[in-house]
Amino acid sequence: MAVKMIRDVIRDTIDEEMARDDSLIMLGEDIVGGNGSAGGPEAIGGIWGTSGGLWAKYGGDRVIDTPISESAIIGAAAGAALTGKRAIAEIMFADFIGVCMDQIWNQVAKFRYMFGGKSRCPIVIRMPYGAGYNAAPQHSQAIHQFVTAMPGLKVVMPSTPADTKGLLTQAIRDDDPVIFLEHKFLYAVKGEVPDGDYTIPFGHARQVTQGDDITILATGMMVGMAETAAKTLAQDGVGCDLLDLRTTSPLDEEAILDSVERTGRLLIVDEAPPRCSLATDLSSLVAHKAFASLKAPIEMVTPPHSPVPFARELESAYLPSPDRIAAAAARLLSYRRG
């Protein structure tokens, strides 16, 4: 097993899939870089460094730099995918979904349904998301709550290098449209990555820590925070059943319900603001389907109902943290039905 950073896993996985499947193309802003410049195209591979070298290897007909036109990027990927290609579209920041949501929501997600099951649109929309860089309100958002709410899309949120490989390979080979959410702050995270062909089926959560006292659900950057909290809690003898959901659509309902049936206590950690969020989604699943097992109110650790602020102090107060997670767990454990 090689040890790699997530950003390199992404590049390498795309590379392998491009080599494997001639019909795979990729589009985005500056994914090549240098087109039309004095320096010339140079495959710098985007500002995240997730496509370096691909243009040189696969050429400009398959690795396509675009103008700043996100709707046209998604539409172009979608039109190519409808007509026999597979396509990866990179949206530089997930926050830019605002300028291309129609193509994602009303086009890509609905083609197959509207067309009576007679089309396929194998497209992966890669969207770097999330806070942690003090990138301010328009470059720091979590958007999984929006895309998870959209029927017709699959939504993937890897949190480790190994999962990134397995889930991205799966996403590229999947015949349905997939939103692939890469947490910007995790790009530099390093870890072991299985060699060779490696896929992880969607809808299967990863058990991060095992325990019988509390179920904790998390995705993306929240997984690491929850893991840190779980370690602290373990020192106090509290066993946390921490699940990394990996995909929010499809959702591994079974793993979640099984765990809550065992622990009776649920804590959800989410990077998005609280209203109509994945946190509320998971909470309502359990309040409906595992109600009888619940020994305490469902706790959620999320940012407040506000945009992501810029200043360091504000952003860290905004985000969930291991401390806030541990405190919520403590509340859960001390709860006694009144």
């Binding site: 409808l82 193509q103 197959r112 999947d174 015949d175």
Partner: protein, 320 residues
Amino acid sequence: MQLSRDALTRAYRQMKTIRLFEDRLHDEIALGEIAGFTHLYAGQEACAVGVCEHLGPDDYIISTHRGHGHCIAKGCDVEAMMKEIYGSSDGLCKGKGGSMHIADVGVGMLGANGIVGAGAPIAVGAGITAKSNGTVSICFSGDGACNQGTTFEAMNMAVVLKLPVIFVFENNHYSEHTGEAYAVGAESMTTRAAAFGMKAVKANGIDFFDVYQTIGELIEWCKAGNGPASIELDCERFFGHFEGDPQRYRGEGELERIRAERDCLTTFRTKVTEAKLLEGADLDQIDEEVTALIDRAVAQAKTAPRPTPADVTQDVYISY
């Protein structure tokens, strides 16, 4: 381009099929038989057919909310279309999409589309495939849609990527109730498209032959690797924006005049019979056949199987 007798017959049949399809829908909608919003294409037949007569199944088109004509011209099954509009589970889209979403990717028809301007980016993507296949991608669009940001982005992107995409702007002079003269701030949508860096021409959308000839040249030009092109077709829509529209924005006598003077079917008939390319009797014969086809389609659609509640959750995903 000299058209054979067969080609002329086929073109007329296609146009007439669209006309009678729409005329009949107009009547059926008035009876309350058909649900949803329906936008009829009658009047614009020479546009769809003039373009699509050049295309094979591996060429792509994408359409608009006013899609029936494009679908028929590109070869969608007329009976399956009618069933779709009636919401039958035997419809082309199993009753899921209805009038505004008829599609048949198998014949290169990438869908009517309810979002104005949404087709243009998708046509660019089909253009990527077309470039690799030696085919062409056609984006049908309107005089209203040409002002939507997505259309502009798509035009620029097609130029940048030098794709064989043709933006066909059917200028029927209205977007809903608003006149093109108001909504298109530019001198014309064609001068504006030209300034995007593509070949941009106009043709007479009432005249099948002009459309056919002009678009034929553009298709060749695009397939030769010259990048995208645009064409504006001056045409008329004979019904309201959607069924139910009182059309108060029309000038006095406008509807009567365009129906009398600017009917592409009449124009075609006059031209081919005067030039003795086809006989009036040939055309009458087609008229009869098409009438029978539409009668059959409607009769079938009315008794076709209906979807059941279990169908609601089918076809959301291929696998989930």
